[in-house]
């Protein structure tokens, strides 16, 4: 579980990027991200996983931008879930390093992931359903203000979280 789950999610992320655009620069970025995942599994560091996630994201964004691909909400949602599960499985794997792992741990993790994927899918569908009528109601001039408020919210959340981070 400590090895298989992060590697599997990393491969899924790589495949999702290549599905959008199968070009050499993206393969290089994907392979570098996979290498970082392996480094994170071998060494007791957390940053290789975060760096790998950011690299996968960069590759995915470049693929969407370079190919001028159409909007794909399920694809984006799948990519986000794979990213989350990569980071979560790396976090759980770190706790399992050098420990005896109970029989139920793997089952509980998989059940949790499946349950969360279903909830995220439902939430996305609800958000898409609400977004269509709202886009007609909200004036376009409010969009930058909304973006700025969102960015401020993210920065505040980062600061609050960083102050309470454990190990």
């Amino acid at each position: 579980m400590r090895w298989m789950a992060p590697l599997a999610f990393a491969v899924v992320l790589f495949a999702l990027t290549l599905r959008t655009a199968f070009i050499e620069p993206l393969i290089v970025i994907g392979v570098a991200a996979l290498a970082l995942v392996v480094v994170g599994l071998l060494l007791p560091w957390r940053w290789p996983f975060v760096a790998a996630a950011c690299l996968f994201l960069t590759g995915h964004a470049l693929a969407l931008w370079g190919m001028d691909a159409p909007v794909d909400v399920p694809g984006g949602l799948g990519f986000g879930l794979a990213l989350l599960f990569l980071l979560h499985s790396a976090h759980a794997g770190r706790a399992m390093r050098g420990a005896s792992v109970g029989a139920r741990v793997l089952r509980e993790q998989i059940v949790g992931w499946v349950r969360f994927a279903v909830v995220a899918l439902l939430a996305a569908m609800l958000a898409m359903g609400l977004a269509a009528p709202l886009s007609g109601v909200l004036p376009a001039a409010l969009a930058p203000l909304l973006a700025a408020a969102s960015a401020l919210g993210v920065v505040t959340a980062v600061i609050l979280a960083a102050r309470r981070v454990g190990r």
Binding site: G76, H88, M96, S100, V105, E108, A147
Partner: protein
């Protein structure tokens, strides 16, 4: 129980920030959809989570063991609320080595169920080991929040020194009044025949020696020697020690003391203990298996406490060092204050024997094969031999024991030396 936000939450925030930046840079709003699951994971932080409810019980297969033996530790966690992921850590002491299982565990326990985790620890050296702490860290479903608690309880494992079986022991010169295994020079009740004398009223008929009576023409009775026990006081030198961290002269001395105590107690003698060092500790002479536990517990605590103060045996109560007691001193002869204390005991009329735990071989084992080290060890050996010869000239029965060899052979040598020393005196 304290809760914290985990580094995973920070990682998620970083990635969400990166997604927003990329969405702005590439002008692709659909990238924000990627951030939705991560944001949902983070959103669980906003929810007020209930404290994990569980009970943790720790059991040991036994709480007393001998050096080199192992103890199985079983931890049982019963969850009253669902525990998605729980880390358990036993911060072991350096002396213990895990031989089966691991001192860390990760468990997932549904509500109302019980999970167990066990491991086996081997203790190669004597001591009292505190195993009272287990650190438990419970993660929430998404690993963005943890609760940590230290479970502290009074649980100690006592690792007693291993005892070597001893068949031949130094015989005490003087016996006490209780019944024991030694043939006393005094006559009385016993089975060892000593002399015959004329019958006097009050003698029992079964004591009549018929063969002598018929030959001498009058009634004679057989007198028997009494069988008595002795008081043996073990005096352990804890002023200094040398050796490797896992095995020192003090450890060897403690093993020898434990072996001697077990052997003398098996002979119905009363055994006492004086730990002579920076701190003087003692156990009054007593007998029986429970007394062996008392002695062993005291030996477990024996440790070197450095001091410049010369300790006086006058501090030791007379009940601990009774008259007519046989004192066996166990020392590496590294501190002259102990030699002085032994000479003081001889001057006070005690029957004393000294078992010297040789430190040279222990030190040699910790040094490399460099010629200069070997030369130093040889010179030290010569110096110690001269010192032992000097002590013998003072009438002190001294035998050197290399801890790598049998204790029984050294103890037998001690008896021979004592008889020679008594004759010299």
């Amino acid at each position: 129980m304290t809760w914290r936000v985990t580094p995973l939450a920070l990682s998620l925030l970083t990635v969400v920030g990166w997604i927003v930046s990329l969405a702005v840079l590439t002008a692709r709003a659909d990238l924000l959809v990627v951030a939705v699951p991560l944001a949902l994971g983070l959103a669980t932080l906003a929810r007020r989570a209930a404290l994990p409810d569980y009970t943790l019980v720790r059991r040991f297969s036994r709480d007393r063991l001998l050096e080199g033996e192992s103890v199985t530790v079983e931890v049982e966690v019963t969850a009253r609320s669902t525990i998605p992921l729980m880390e358990l850590l036993d911060p072991l002491t350096e002396e213990g080595a895990v031989i089966t299982g691991k001192p860390r565990a990760v468990l997932a326990i549904p509500q109302g169920e019980t999970a167990r985790w066990s491991y086996e620890i081997r203790y190669p050296i004597r001591g009292i080991h505190d195993l009272g702490v287990v650190i438990a860290r419970v993660h929430d479903r998404w690993g963005v929040r943890t609760w940590e608690r230290r479970h502290v309880e009074q649980s100690r494992i006592r690792v007693h020194p291993r005892t070597a079986p001893l068949r031949s022991l130094p015989r005490p010169l003087r016996t006490q009044t209780s019944v024991g295994d030694y043939v006393s020079p005094l006559f009385g009740e016993g089975i060892e025949p000593g002399d015959i004398r004329e019958f006097v009223p009050g003698d029992r008929v079964r004591q009549v020696n018929w063969r002598a009576s018929l030959r001498l023409g009058t009634l004679y009775v057989t007198q028997h020697h009494r069988e008595r026990n002795a008081d043996v006081v073990l005096m352990l030198d804890t002023l200094a020690q040398v050796g490797t961290p896992l095995f020192t002269t003090l450890d060897a001395g403690v093993r020898a003391a434990s072996s001697l105590a077990a052997a003398y107690l098996a002979r119905k003698d009363r055994v006492g203990l004086v730990i002579y060092g920076g701190l003087i500790d003692w156990v009054r002479p007593g007998s029986g298996p429970s007394h062996h536990h008392r002695l062993a517990d005291s030996l477990l605590r024996a440790d070197v406490v450095f001091t410049y103060v010369a300790k006086d045996l006058k501090l030791v109560p007379p009940r601990v060092l009774p008259a007519r007691a046989f004192v066996i001193a166990l020392t590496p002869l590294l501190d002259r204050r102990f030699t002085q204390a032994v000479l003081d005991l001889i001057a006070r009329g005690f029957d004393v024997a000294v078992l010297v735990v040789s430190p040279v071989d222990l030190v040699r084992a910790s040094l490399g094969p460099a010629p200069i080290d070997q030369l130093a060890c040889r010179l030290w050996t010569l110096e110690r031999r001269a010192r032992l010869a000097d002590l013998r000239r003072h009438g002190l029965p001294v035998v050197e024991w290399d801890p790598a060899t049998s204790l029984e052979a050294a103890v037998a040598g001690l008896d021979r030396r004592r008889h020679r020393a008594v004759l010299t005196r």
